[in-house]
C-alpha cells in the first residue's frame, strides 16, 4: 500500500529518522489527549444548562488536562534539543499565532483553577469564556500551523522565515484549522458522552452525532487536498493512502457507533481520526520538517535542522527509559479517574465566609454510586 514517491535520501542517520518519529509521536499524543480537553472547553457553553453542569464538564478533565498539556511542552523541548533549526524557524516564523496560542493556554489553564474560587456569576462566566476561547483558539491555530508547515512558507537561505503573519492565512491552512477545530470538538463530545451520565450524557451524544458528519467532511476535504498537494507540489514525502483513508472512515463511523451506544468504540474512532491526521501530515512531511515555498533547496529537513549526533544519542537513551514510564503512570491516572462524573443534586448552603454572593452557591452532596 505504501507508495514511495521519491527514494529517500540516504544521507539521513538512523537517529535523525528516529527523532523525527519521536516528535511525530509527541504531537500525536498531544493532540490525542489535549484534543478532547480542548473539545470539552469548546462545548462548555453548548452542553450546559447551569453552573453545576459546567462544573461537571470541567471535572471530567480536571485531573488530567495538565498532564495532557505536558505532551506539548515535551514536543517543544524535544524539537529544541533534536532539531534546533526547526524549533528556531518554526516559532520565530509563526510568531504571532504562537503568541495567540500561548495567551489562550494561559487563560484557559488558570481558568480551570480559578473559576470555582469565587461564587459570583460574573466571575465564573468570565472564566468560562476564557475556557471556551482558550480551547477554540489553539484548536484552530494548531491546524493552521501544521497545514502551513506542510504546504510551505517563505523560508529563505539560512533557514530564515521571510514571510509575515498573513502568509499563514491561506485557504488550505484555514481548512486545516477548521478540521482540527471540528475534530477536537467531536473528540471532546464523545469523551463527554463517555465520562458523564443522564441528561448531560444525552446532550453530549447529540452534539457528537451532529458534529461527526461535519468533522468527517472537513477531514475528507483537508486530507484529499493534502494528498493531491503531496503528489504534485513536492516530490519527496511518503504518501501511504491507507492512513488518511482509515482516519476519515473512523470519524465517519462515529455517528453510527453512538447510535449503537458504543461510546468506547466511538472514542477510539475519534482518536484514530486525530492520530491519522497527524500521521498523514508527518508522513507527507518526511524527510522535511518545514517546507520552503521559495525553493526546495531551502527546505528544512531532518538533516540540516538536526542537532549533533551526540545529543541525539543521549536524548535517545533518556527517551527510551522514561517515555514508557510516563505512559504507565499517566495511563494509571486515567484508570484511577475512570468513573463517570455524576451531576450531584443541588443543595444550598452558606460555606464561604468571605463571599457575600451566597445565594447562588450550590454544592454537591455524596451520591452513593
Amino acid at each position: 500500500m505504501y507508495t514511495v514517491i521519491a527514494s529517500a535520501s540516504p544521507s539521513y542517520t538512523g537517529l535523525e529518522i528516529f527523532w523525527f518519529l519521536v516528535i511525530a509521536v509527541l504531537w500525536s499524543m498531544y493532540f490525542l489527549l489535549e484534543g478532547f480537553d480542548f473539545g470539552i472547553g469548546m462545548l462548555l457553553p453548548f452542553l450546559s444548562k447551569d453552573d453545576l453542569d459546567r462544573r461537571v464538564l470541567i471535572n471530567t478533565i480536571g485531573p488530567v488536562w495538565d498532564g495532557n498539556e505536558v505532551w506539548l511542552l515535551t514536543a517543544g523541548g524535544a524539537t529544541f534539543a533534536a532539531f534546533p533549526n526547526w524549533y528556531a524557524t518554526l516559532f520565530s516564523g509563526f510568531y504571532l499565532p504562537l503568541f495567540l496560542i500561548l495567551a489562550a493556554l494561559i487563560f484557559r489553564g488558570v481558568a480551570f483553577e480559578f473559576r470555582a474560587k469565587r461564587a459570583f456569576p460574573a466571575w465564573r462566566s468570565a472564566w468560562d469564556k476564557a475556557i471556551f476561547w482558550g480551547s477554540v483558539i489553539p484548536s484552530l491555530l494548531w491546524g493552521v500551523a501544521f497545514a502551513n508547515i506542510l504546504r510551505g512558507v517563505p523560508i529563505g537561505p539560512n533557514e530564515s522565515y521571510l514571510g509575515s503573519f498573513f502568509n499563514l492565512l491561506n485557504p488550505y491552512a484555514l481548512l486545516g484549522g477548521v478540521t482540527t477545530l471540528l475534530l477536537f470538538a467531536l473528540h471532546g463530545a464523545v469523551f463527554a458522552s463517555l465520562k458523564t451520565t443522564d441528561a448531560m450524557q444525552e446532550r453530549a451524544r447529540k452534539a457528537a452525532k451532529g458534529l461527526a458528519p461535519a468533522a468527517a467532511a472537513a477531514l475528507l476535504g483537508f486530507l484529499t487536498w493534502t494528498y493531491l498537494n503531496a503528489h504534485h507540489a513536492h516530490n519527496t514525502g511518503i504518501v501511504p493512502p491507507l492512513v488518511p483513508v482509515l482516519a476519515i472512515a473512523a470519524v465517519a463511523l462515529v455517528g453510527w457507533l453512538l447510535r449503537e451506544k458504543l461510546e468506547g468504540w466511538a472514542f477510539l474512532a475519534t482518536a484514530m481520526g486525530v492520530v491519522g491526521l497527524v500521521a498523514t501530515i508527518f508522513l507527507n512531511l518526511y524527510p522535511r520538517v518545514m517546507v520552503s515555498s521559495i525553493s526546495k533547496t531551502y527546505d528544512l529537513t531532518i538533516g540540516n535542522a538536526s542537532s549533533a549526533p551526540y545529543t541525539l544519542k543521549v536524548m535517545t537513551i533518556v527517551a527510551l527509559i522514561f517515555t514508557p514510564l510516563v505512559l504507565v503512570y499517566q495511563g494509571w491516572s486515567y484508570w484511577v479517574f475512570r468513573a463517570r462524573v455524576k451531576r450531584p443534586p443541588q443543595i444550598h448552603r452558606a460555606s464561604d465566609p468571605s463571599e457575600t454572593e451566597q445565594s447562588s452557591l450550590t454544592v454537591s452532596a455524596v451520591e452513593p454510586d
Binding site: 498532564g67 515535551t74 534539543a81 510568531y95
Partner: protein, 476 residues
C-alpha cells in the same frame, strides 16, 4: 530595537514566572511534611486535626500559585524559539536537551501526581495519596535542577565544543554536574524554601495577631504553622547564604566581571573592602559610602588580603581575548540588585534568629511586634529572588552564553512591530494575572483555619458538626 524589546519581554515574562516558582517548590515540600505529620499522627485526634487542617489551609494557596506557575512556564518553553532564534540554533544541541529532559522527567510527574493528589483522595489509598505529594515535591526539585543546568551552562559553558557556527554537546554528564549548576541549584532551592517559610510565617502571624486582638487563644493551625516555618526557614536562610557565598567564589573565577560589577570595583585590589552602600557616583567619586574593610577579599577569595580583579583590568583582558567591545554590564543595575538581594537576606537572617529565640522562650505567638514585622517581611524573599536573578542575568551581559555568544547576536529576525505587540500583550496578560492572583491569595490567606471552601477535596477533616462535611463530588 527588536533586541531591546525582546530583552524586556524575556525579563518581564521570566521575572514574573519566578515569583511563583519558589512558592511551588517550597509549598510542595511543606505540604508533604504537613501531610506526613498528619498521617503519622492518625491515631492521635488532636494532632491529626491540626496537621490535616494545616494541609487544607496551605493547599489552597499552593494551588492558586501553582496554576500561574504552570501557565507562565509554558511561555518559557517556547520563547527561546520565538525571540531568540539565533541563540536557539547556536545552543540547541546543549541547551535544548535539559529542557526536553525537564518536561519528560519532571513535568509529567508533577502534573499527573498533582492530579491524583487534588482529585484522588477518595480514589487511592491514604499512602498513595501521601506519596503523590512527595512525588510532586521531588518533581519540582528535578525541574529546578534541569532548568538550572541550562542556565548554568549559559553562565559557565562546559561539556561542549564549537563546531562551525554552533556549540555542540560533547559530555552530557559534564553539563549535568557543572560546578555552577550545583552551587546555584542549592542556592535557588534554599531560597525557594526561605521564600515559602516567610510566606507561611507572615500569613500565620497575621492570623495570630488577629486572634490576639480579639482575645482568642492562638489557633493551633497557625501557631504550629509559624513554628514549622521558623524551623524550616532558619535552616533555609543559612543554607541560602552559605551557597550564595559559594556561588560568589565561583563567580570570581568564572565570571570575574560580574563580581567586579557587583561591587563596582574599578581597579584590581588586594584586601578589597566590601561596599555596603554608596550615595552618588559609583565610578569612584561617591558622595557618601560605607565600606567593610577586607570583607570582599574574604567573600570572594576566602583570604584577608586576597586579590579581587577590577573592571578596567578585566575589560582589558577580555578585549585581548574576545576582540574589541564593551564587556561591562550596566553597573548601577548590578551594584544595586546585588545589594538589595544580600540586604534582604541579612534582614531575613536576623528575623529568623530573633524568631528562634522567641520560640525557645515560648513567646513566638504572643510577641506582637515580631508578628507585625513578619507580616511585612513577606515581601523580602520576593524582592531578593527578583533582584538575584536580575543581577545574575544582567551581570553576564554583554554575553548570553558567557565567552561564546553575545546577546546582540542571539535575537530573532522578527519584525519590531510583532515584538511590540507581544511585549504589550504579555505585559497586559501578566498584570491581569498578578491582580487576580493577588486577590485570590489574599482571600484564601484570610480564610480561618476552620473555614471550608467548596473547592476543598473530599473527606478533608473539616468542621464535623455542620453539613459542610458532606463530600463535594466536584472539585473544580
Amino acid at each position: 530595537m527588536t533586541l531591546l524589546l525582546s530583552r524586556w519581554q524575556f525579563g518581564i515574562t521570566t521575572v514574573f514566572h519566578f515569583i511563583f516558582v519558589p512558592l511551588t517548590i517550597g509549598l510542595a515540600l511543606m505540604l508533604a511534611i504537613m501531610q506526613t505529620t498528619a498521617y503519622r499522627n492518625r491515631h492521635n485526634p488532636a494532632k491529626f486535626e491540626t496537621w490535616s487542617k494545616m494541609t487544607v489551609f496551605w493547599r489552597r494557596l499552593f494551588l492558586i500559585n501553582f496554576a500561574i506557575g504552570v501557565v507562565t512556564g509554558i511561555v518559557q518553553e517556547f520563547q527561546f524559539g520565538m525571540n531568540w532564534a539565533a541563540y536557539s540554533r547556536y545552543v540547541g544541541s546543549v541547551f535544548g536537551a535539559p529542557l526536553a529532559v525537564e518536561a519528560l522527567l519532571a513535568f509529567f510527574l508533577e502534573s499527573t501526581f498533582l492530579g491524583i493528589w487534588i482529585f484522588g483522595k477518595d480514589k487511592v489509598s491514604a499512602r498513595i495519596h501521601l506519596a503523590s505529594i512527595w512525588i510532586v515535591s521531588v518533581a519540582t526539585l528535578l525541574s529546578a535542577y534541569f532548568i538550572l543546568s541550562a542556565n548554568a551552562w549559559m553562565q559557565h559553558p562546559v561539556g561542549y565544543k564549537v563546531q562551525g557556527n554552533r556549540a555542540v554537546m560533547t559530555n552530557f554528564w559534564a553539563v549535568m554536574t557543572n560546578s555552577t549548576l550545583i552551587s546555584s541549584f542549592l542556592h535557588v532551592v534554599s531560597a525557594a524554601i526561605i521564600t515559602t517559610a516567610m510566606l507561611v510565617l507572615g500569613v500565620s502571624a497575621w492570623h495570630l495577631l488577629k486572634q490576639r486582638k480579639s482575645g482568642v487563644a492562638p489557633h493551633p493551625v497557625f501557631a504550629t504553622s509559624a513554628q514549622l516555618a521558623m524551623i524550616i526557614g532558619s535552616v533555609a536562610i543559612v543554607a541560602t547564604m552559605f551557597f550564595g557565598d559559594n556561588q560568589a567564589r565561583l563567580m570570581e573565577k568564572q565570571q570575574p566581571m560580574k563580581m567586579a560589577a557587583a561591587e563596582a570595583i574599578y581597579n584590581t585590589q588586594n584586601g578589597a573592602s566590601f561596599s555596603l552602600l554608596t550615595i552618588g557616583d559609583l565610578s569612584g567619586n561617591p558622595v557618601f559610602q560605607i565600606r567593610l574593610p577586607h570583607m570582599l577579599s574574604v567573600l570572594a577569595d576566602n583570604t584577608w588580603n586576597g586579590s579581587v580583579q577590577g573592571i578596567n583590568q578585566i575589560q582589558a583582558k577580555e578585549t585581548a581575548k574576545y576582540g574589541p567591545g564593551n564587556y561591562k554590564p550596566i553597573l548601577w543595575v548590578t551594584y544595586w540588585t546585588f545589594r538589595i538581594m544580600v540586604g534582604c537576606g541579612i534582614v531575613m537572617f536576623c528575623l529568623m534568629a530573633v524568631g528562634l529565640w522567641l520560640m525557645r522562650k515560648r513567646r513566638l505567638e504572643r510577641t506582637t511586634w515580631f508578628l507585625r514585622l513578619s507580616v511585612f517581611a513577606i515581601v523580602l524573599p520576593f524582592l531578593a529572588n527578583t533582584t538575584g536573578w536580575i543581577f545574575t542575568e544582567m551581570g553576564r551581559q554583554p554575553w548570553v552564553v558567557f565567552g561564546l555568544l553575545k546577546t546582540s547576536q542571539a535575537v530573532s529576525t522578527v519584525g519590531t512591530g510583532y515584538v511590540v505587540a507581544t511585549l504589550v500583550g504579555f505585559t497586559a496578560i501578566y498584570s491581569l494575572l498578578a491582580a487576580v492572583d493577588f486577590g485570590l491569595m489574599a482571600k484564601f490567606a484570610r480564610f480561618g483555619a476552620d473555614d471550608v471552601d467548596e473547592h476543598d477535596a473530599p473527606n478533608d477533616p473539616v468542621d464535623p458538626d455542620s453539613d459542610t462535611t458532606r463530600v463535594p463530588a466536584l472539585i473544580y
